[in-house]
């Protein structure tokens, strides 16, 4: 059931307006915080208010403006989009709180919060995009809006990272543009409201080119190896930026795009017949393992997080590529599972950096005694990544393995297992280091992080547990993921 509802437009518009207000009035600390927090809350309320309807199966649509003849900038909140939008608007609120605490000693805060809001606006725009062109519009805008955040430090290193980031993502954008144009040529439409728009009669070679360009385009932001190069370097950005954008918004937009391509552009049936997703699945599996191995050798905490992100994102890609309902559930759900766990970790890294000034893993010995709550949150996230039952990550791994068996490619279940082991190998030592290795000499005596940093961290950690335990409770996000999957598999 489709309902025309302005709230779909409102959700991105609120953060857009917020960014404008921040640019105008942001020199004043109060107004900057007021608008950032107010808009984040308002937006969460708006998105949440659509949630019951979305769970009932209502799809909200709003046609904003006819962009070119026949193609509008239009918004449509289907189950998949709602899922992504809910995740990102929840995290925006949390991250804003964290950022207010974290950014206090930094420069150029107006610019930071302004572009921060703009990024969230575009992320929700991607989530609600009704057609491929709208999606592309917001995808590119997101690229541009994140640039000032990535190079926030304005050091030569940051500028270099920024250039690298732009080079990668804009090339990706170019691929998507070409892919969209070709899609329009082949299908005559760009809508994402159907489970597949490409005609089965099209020339398989054209379809192959199409699949490659689109997946490569989105794969840049989804950081599939070998397109991942920008992500570790972009970690020079301030931690809230890394947290929201590089673990949640930017990279998830890429993964979300791949889901859209697989489910809404090609459609499951067509892809099953064509078999394009098999190489993609192998590539994803390779990324999962290789990035985990790379993470093992990182001593900088944020870089280890970055490689972990690369690895985790490919869960989503793998889930999409397996083309079974269970795997699809895993892929969609992992958007949330990974987001909350990863943002917890980033918050922890940021808290530690702000409180103690430490950024390297070997410096963390005994930090658990200083900051027990923070490190507890870290532990929760680590266990989630390892895939311990009752933690969010388990849901993904379970369904993904199921999907692998369902599709008859059982070896991907082994990949899951190997990934769990590797995750354990690079996260648990940190936990061990923090809690069980006493500080050599005296502790820093820094104590727990301040509340503005601590509360968001704990909230996210708690949510990881909630996600991990409520997968069968109706009305929780996982139900939404199921709804999305049912739509694309026409169940």
């Amino acid at each position: 059931m489709e309902t025309v509802d302005v709230r779909v437009l409102l959700a991105p518009a609120i953060s857009f307006a917020c960014s404008g207000l921040v640019f105008l009035m942001g020199r004043n600390v109060f107004w900057r915080r007021f608008w950032s927090l107010g808009a984040a809350t308002l937006k969460l309320v708006v998105v949440m208010s659509m949630l019951p309807g979305a769970l009932r199966g209502t799809t909200y649509v709003w046609r904003f403006i006819e962009f070119t003849p026949g193609i509008s900038i239009a918004f449509r909140a289907d189950a998949l989009g709602m899922f992504f939008a809910t995740v990102s608007s929840t995290l925006w609120l949390v991250t804003t709180v964290f950022a207010i605490g974290y950014m206090e000693p930094e420069h150029a805060k107006v610019r930071f919060f302004g572009f921060f809001a703009l990024c969230v606006s575009t992320t929700v725009g991607v989530a609600f995009a009704e057609n491929l062109l709208t999606l592309f519009v917001f995808y590119e805008t997101l690229t541009i809006c994140t640039y000032p955040l990535v190079i926030h430090e304005e050091t030569p290193e940051a500028l270099r990272a920024g250039r690298k980031y732009l080079a990668y993502t804009l090339s990706g954008g170019a691929c998507i543009l070409l892919g969209s144009a070709l899609t329009y040529q082949v299908a005559g439409t760009l809508t994402l409201s159907k489970p597949g728009i490409l005609p089965a009669s099209a020339d398989p070679r054209t379809l192959a080119i199409l699949f490659t360009t689109l997946v490569a385009g989105f794969g840049v932001k989804a950081a599939i190896i070998p397109l991942h190069g920008w992500l570790p370097s972009a970690m020079v950005a301030p931690t809230p930026v890394s947290a929201l954008l590089h673990a949640v918004a930017v990279v998830k937009v890429g993964a979300f795009g791949i889901l859209r391509v697989v489910y809404n552009v090609f459609g499951v049936e067509l892809l099953r017949r064509l078999g394009f997703t098999v190489p993609l699945a192998y590539l994803a599996a390779f990324t999962i393992i290789a990035a985990s191995v790379a993470a093992l050798f990182q001593d900088n905490l944020k870089r280890r997080l970055a490689y972990s992100t690369v690895s985790q994102l490919s869960y989503i890609v793998l889930g999409a590529a397996l083309l079974t309902p269970a795997a699809a559930c895993a892929a969609v759900a992992h958007i949330a599972n990974q987001a909350f766990a990863k943002i917890t970790m980033f918050f922890v890294a940021g808290s530690i950096q702000r409180t103690t000034g430490k950024t390297q893993i070997h410096e963390l010995a005994g930090i658990g005694h200083e900051m027990p709550l923070t490190m507890a949150a870290f532990t929760v996230a680590s266990l989630s990544f390892v895939g311990v039952p009752l933690f969010a990550g388990f849901i993904t791994k379970w369904y993904l393995s199921l999907g692998a068996l369902e599709s008859g490619m059982w070896w991907f279940a082994i990949v899951m297992l190997a990934s769990s082991l590797l995750n354990a190998a690079y996260w648990l030592p940190i936990v061990y280091l923090a809690f069980f290795k006493g500080p050599h000499g005296r502790g820093t005596g820094s104590g727990e992080a301040r509340l503005l940093l601590l509360v968001p961290t704990l909230l996210c950690a708690a949510w990881v547990l909630v996600l991990g335990t409520t997968s069968d409770v109706p009305g929780m996000p996982f139900a939404l993921a199921r709804a999305a999957v049912e739509f694309v598999f026409k169940m």
Partner: protein
């Protein structure tokens, strides 16, 4: 209705022409009075052309026969959708003239100021005439008005480099005009008419295709020099970079389009006659367009001078449009035609904003302009909007062209050129990002840049009107696209259809 009054069409040319020729006499050496007179003239011209655009949107193309002689016996003005470029010319010209008020006071010899406005207005009059005329030789006359005034405008600052650039521009411009005139002569010799529509009819029955083909080649070559397609671009960077900024805006945004519009008119004449196979020309346009995109971007990367960079980017953008012509599919032609309009807006915004920055700070190199984003936030923001737009980031005006030409490339089955176009645009981004970095993210070299402050309103308003248009024309892309479509459909309609 008010817009149906027949005389709007000649008035569109005569108003800027009349105001232009009278400017020195009216001003009597007073620059301020010349400015007010010119602003009035260009505003009236914009209003007049607006009436034409309204009429063509409601009723389709219409004509005006001078002296009451029906074509082919007299000169005909024919206003079609592509002719709506006249409106862009008049409005951008008005903004450039408004902008010039304070700029000229500062940058030009006071004795030259009235002549400066005269030439700007005549340039506008010529451009409007060129876009609406339906007669080959009349087209040449207007082309010469445009060329002469443009040459002089480049040199008006009196700097040594400016005069040398103007001379280089003049020689190449004069040669290209002659090529066009030669072609016009051959078309006249074979068809016996100078009227475009009549020539299109009669070309089908000419005895030998050879003169027609050579005429097309000559005219296309001449127009491509005027449009600075690589490798015929040598005159452009100097001329556009050294001219005063409002002139650069007019030259880069409007005057280079003369060649493209001319090519379009040529297409309108020969496309449907079938006497000459245009495949070779299309092929040439495709390749030269692609090379232009890449080479323009390539040279721009090495420029430190901000206006030089913008000038090279014009070459790239001309490449887009020519490539669109070369693809010759419906989407590509629509994209190319719309980009003629959009590039005018974007490039004017960029040049005017750059001009405002140079005017306020006195520096023109990126390395010296570091921190300009802090010193003059509004101007630098407008420049950034323009930069984002010209690179074709959606949803700005520059994106439409990229999207449509990409669609057209697939439509024509030339996917490789779609790739060239889109990745060429990335190349362009490389140098615009340098500009943005310098303005916002790098340590200032000169302290006065940071304290420069935004320019006076008469400069800031035109800049922001244009920057706003860069965004609006992208978001409301449907309007120009649907507006231009009938012209392209008529061009591509099957013979006899």
């Amino acid at each position: 209705m008010w817009w149906q009054w027949a005389h709007w069409l000649p008035l569109a040319v005569l108003v800027p022409l009349g105001f232009g020729v009278t400017t020195p006499a009216v001003a009597g050496g007073d620059g301020g009075r010349a400015w007010r007179w010119a602003v009035l003239g260009s505003a009236l011209a914009a209003a007049t052309t607006l009436a034409l655009v309204v009429r063509v949107a409601r009723e389709g193309p219409f004509s005006y026969a001078f002296g009451g002689w029906n074509p082919p016996y007299g000169i005909e003005f024919r206003f079609d959708e592509v002719g709506a470029f006249a409106f862009v010319v008049a409005s951008l010209g008005m903004l450039a003239i408004v902008f010039s008020g304070r700029y000229a006071e500062h940058a030009l010899d006071p004795a030259r100021i009235p002549y400066f406005y005269t030439l700007l207005l005549l340039d506008i009059a010529g451009l409007i005439g060129f876009s609406v005329t339906g007669d080959l030789f009349n087209m040449y006359v207007f082309m010469e008005i445009i060329s002469l005034s443009s040459y002089a405008l480049v040199a008006v600052s009196g700097e040594r480099t400016a005069e040398m650039a103007a001379f280089k521009y003049l020689v190449l411009g004069a040669v290209s005009s002659l090529l066009v005139l030669f072609g016009i002569g051959m078309v006249y010799g074979t068809t016996g008419t100078l009227n475009l529509a009549d020539a299109a009819r009669r070309l089908g029955g000419v005895g030998s295709a050879v003169p027609v083909a050579v005429a097309i080649a000559l005219m296309a070559a001449g127009f491509m020099v005027k449009s600075a397609l690589f490798p015929l671009h040598v005159w452009l960077p100097d001329a556009h970079a050294i001219a005063p900024s409002p002139v650069s805006a007019v030259l880069s945004g409007l005057v280079v389009k003369v060649g493209l519009l001319g090519t379009f008119r040529l297409y309108q004449v020969v496309y449907r006659t079938g006497i000459v196979d245009l495949a070779a020309l299309d092929q040439l346009f495709l390749w030269l367009g692609a090379i232009s995109i890449v080479m323009g971007a390539f040279f721009a990367i090495f420029q430190d001078d901000i206006k030089m960079m913008l000038a090279y980017s014009t070459i790239s953008n001309i490449g887009y449009i020519v490539m669109g012509f070369g693809l010759a599919s419906k989407f590509a032609l629509i994209g190319a035609a719309v980009h003629i309009f959009n590039h005018a807006i974007i490039k004017s915004a960029l040049f005017l904003a750059a001009g405002a920055i140079i005017h306020q700070t006195g520096y023109r190199r990126l390395s010296e302009l570091r921190g300009a984003g802090r010193g003059m936030p509004l101007t630098a923001a407008a420049l950034s909007v323009g930069a984002v737009s010209i690179v074709g980031i959606p949803p700005t005006a520059g994106f439409l062209c990229k999207w449509y030409i990409a669609l057209g490339a697939f439509e024509a089955g030339r996917a490789a050129f779609g790739f060239a176009l889109v990745f060429g645009a990335l190349f362009i981004f490389v140098y615009y990002i340098r500009m943005v970095n310098a303005f916002y993210f790098q340590e200032p070299v000169h302290a006065d840049v940071v304290h420069a402050g935004d320019p006076p309103l008469s400069m800031l308003v035109p800049v922001w009107v244009l920057a706003g248009l860069c965004l609006a024309m992208g978001l409301a892309g449907k309007i120009p696209l649907t507006f231009i479509t009938p012209a392209i459909s008529r061009l591509l309609a099957p013979i006899g259809g």
